[in-house]
């Protein structure tokens, strides 16, 4: 296209005449901008501005805006401004550009950093409070749905629950077994490595047994389930919320908590203890194998020592926590799922929130259980 362009100025009596020529288009805007800036340098004596655009060959919104901006700067200084030589076809373009305000209303001034920090702390606190309210609300709705199902057992969605059992339970077995096996092996290896210095190798069996059955088994399984099934619940419910499926259920007279959430949480309550049992066994097996191959502790010795060091109580402490953890994971996942708003970003954000919050709450709950069991002396 036509080469670079020019805005030449000559001072006439009392005023300034500017002549524009060439192509005033987007691809030349970069070279035109400094020219326009130059043309608006203050010259206090100027009273009138005339811009002659007769020799402009091509004009688009960029050129029109640059010329319009020059005029606005001079007008704001109290000058008379005028465009001459504007053809009809470009007149409309100028009208369109001129109609706009061209600038944003300024944002309200930011408060200083101390109040801003306080504000964000306050907002976070109120969000935490709102979360607590939502969880209690959902827990209440669940209890009501549960009682309704107890009163009319035919209302329970057995098929749905079995489907979820398969997905969160059966399909999770291989990965849970693998992970807990590895964790048990690592615990045993580290124990042997350090206990060996004191000649206390055999106490590794006590450590692995107590740790796995009371704490590690259930924790690892719950973290895995929160990441694997909790996120899936949130994503499913969230996308159903996005596509108004949840609203559709409600308008047909069904309670979404009863239809969608109760079977999911029941599936988790059944699944997590089973997975915890399988996971604990796999971890003990892993520990035993490492103790044998790495620590030289014979499997028979391992079993005998295990028999002495742990009781059914240790096992029960781990297992009793599992259903409560399942309720927490399910509750968080379903609350977050129903919080999803219309957009795909919010679905992603809520799924992340769901996993983070449920893992956090699982660990807090585990701490609470530890305090409880310690105080009743188990």
């Amino acid at each position: 296209m036509t080469a670079g362009t020019l805005l030449s100025g000559q001072v006439t009596a009392g005023g300034l005449g500017l002549a524009a020529s060439g192509a005033w288009t987007a691809e030349h805007a970069r070279t035109l901008e400094p020219l326009v800036e130059h043309a608006t340098r203050t010259d206090a004596t100027v009273q009138r501005i005339i811009i002659d655009v007769t020799r402009i060959e091509r004009l688009d919104t960029y050129g029109a805006w640059l010329i319009e901006r020059t005029l606005r700067v001079w007008t704001s200084r109290g000058c008379d401004t005028r465009i001459v030589g504007l053809s009809d076809s470009y007149g409309n373009l100028f009208k369109k550009v001129r109609a706009g305000a061209g600038k944003l209303t300024p944002l309200p001034r930011r408060s200083n950093s101390i109040t801003a920090t306080l504000e964000s702390v306050g907002r976070t606190m109120s969000a935490v409070f709102a979360d607590i309210m939502l969880f209690s609300q959902m827990a209440g709705a669940l209890v009501i749905a549960f009682l309704r199902v107890v009163a009319h057992p035919t209302k329970f969605r057995l098929t749905s629950m079995v489907n979820h059992l398969e997905r969160v339970g059966w399909h999770a077995v291989p990965i849970i077994l693998l992970i807990t096996f590895l964790i048990g092996s690592i615990l045993a290896q580290q124990g042997i490595f350090h206990f060996r210095t004191f000649g206390a190798d055999i106490y590794v069996v006590d450590m692995v047994g107590v740790l796995v059955l009371r704490e590690v088994g259930v924790l690892i399984v719950c973290i895995m389930v929160a990441g694997r099934s909790g996120s899936a619940y949130t994503a499913e419910l969230g996308s159903m919320k996005m596509r108004e499926e949840v609203d559709a259920l409600r308008t047909m007279g069904f309670d979404p908590v009863e239809v969608l959430i109760l079977p999911r949480i029941f599936a988790l309550i059944i699944t997590v203890p089973i997975l915890t049992f399988l996971g604990s066994m796999a971890a003990l097996y892993g520990g035993g194998i490492v103790a044998w191959l790495y620590g030289g502790i014979d499997p028979q010795v391992f079993l005998a020592r295990l028999h002495e060091s742990i009781s059914v109580k240790s096992f029960a402490v781990g297992m009793i926590k599992a259903p409560f953890m399942a309720i927490v994971i399910g509750l968080v996942a379903c609350v977050e799922g129903l919080q999803v708003k219309g957009s795909a970003e919010s679905l992603g954000a809520k799924t992340t929130d769901s996993v983070v919050k449920s893992i956090f709450l699982v660990i807090v709950l585990d701490g609470a259980f530890a305090i409880f069991f310690a105080s009743i002396g188990v």
């Binding site: 987007a26 901006r69 706009g100 305000a101 061209g102």
Partner: protein
């Protein structure tokens, strides 16, 4: 360059496109003339969006010629193709705004990438584009998730117009809009054509919109252009699909009067 000279900005000849061995387009021939608004209709699944996406280079073709602004896209190298990309704007059906950017930054995106202007002028141009499509300047700071469907389409149109393109592709611009917004959008398209002189290729099912804005209409069926011409020619046509399309339950009586008169 003078407006009114009927040279074609897009030339499509004997275009064949196959999707998974199914032949969707079979010898399409179509011209978009400079400065005109071409409405493009066809039954659902007839391949309207396939043709649009093939022209803008999102789908590969099997045979045929596509010439945009005098450049054969097959023979053009990457630089020439990018130069063409700068000279057209595309409005996708759902707007396709970048969700991580505000409306204003969406419009600024192509300006910033291609023109290298100062930050001040970039912002001013983005605001000017937003105002040109009938939005308030303060929409600049809103994220797409905070905007209504109609506003998203307008912001997307502003983005399509960001570089002052010579060709504009509109994919069902009025779908999902209420009749008032749709009417305003039609008016907006007409104004843009008048002021900027853009050539517009518009896929639409909106009969009102076709009637009000389009200079010419092209009809796609069986992988070919069945007919192309003015609205009056469409109304007068005897082709059975055209008859049921333009004289169906959704058509207005006053159009028929116009044909007779």
């Amino acid at each position: 360059m003078a407006i009114g000279r009927p040279d074609a900005v897009i030339k499509v000849q004997d275009l064949v496109v196959e999707l998974d061995t199914r032949r969707v387009l079979n010898g399409v021939k179509l011209d978009l003339l400079r400065g005109e608004i071409l409405g493009f209709v066809g039954a659902s699944g007839a391949g309207k969006s396939v043709l649009t996406r093939t022209i803008i280079g999102l789908l590969p073709k099997r045979e045929g010629l596509i010439e945009v602004l005098g450049v054969d896209l097959d023979k053009a190298d990457d630089r020439a193709k990018q130069a063409i990309d700068r000279r057209w704007g595309v409005l996708f059906q759902q707007g396709a705004l970048f969700s991580s950017l505000t409306a204003g930054k969406n419009v600024e995106f192509p300006i910033r990438e291609y023109l290298g202007l100062s930050a001040k002028l970039t912002t001013e141009m983005a605001i000017s584009k937003l105002e040109m499509v009938g939005l308030k300047p303060d929409v600049y700071r809103n994220f797409p998730s905070e905007l209504s469907g109609g506003m998203i389409k307008r912001v997307a149109l502003a983005r399509a117009l960001a570089l002052d393109p010579e060709i504009l592709f509109l994919d069902e611009p009025t779908s999902g809009l209420d009749p008032i917004s749709a009417g305003e959008f039609d008016q907006l398209i007409l104004t843009l054509q008048e002021t900027l002189g853009v050539s517009i290729f518009m896929v639409t099912h909106d009969l009102d919109s076709l009637h009000r804005t389009c200079d010419r209409i092209a009809v796609l069926g069986d992988g070919k252009i069945i007919e192309a011409g003015t609205m009056d020619q469409m109304l007068a046509s005897n082709h059975p699909w055209l008859k049921s399309y333009f004289h169906g339950a959704r058509a207005h009586d006053d159009w028929h009067v116009e044909v007779k008169g």
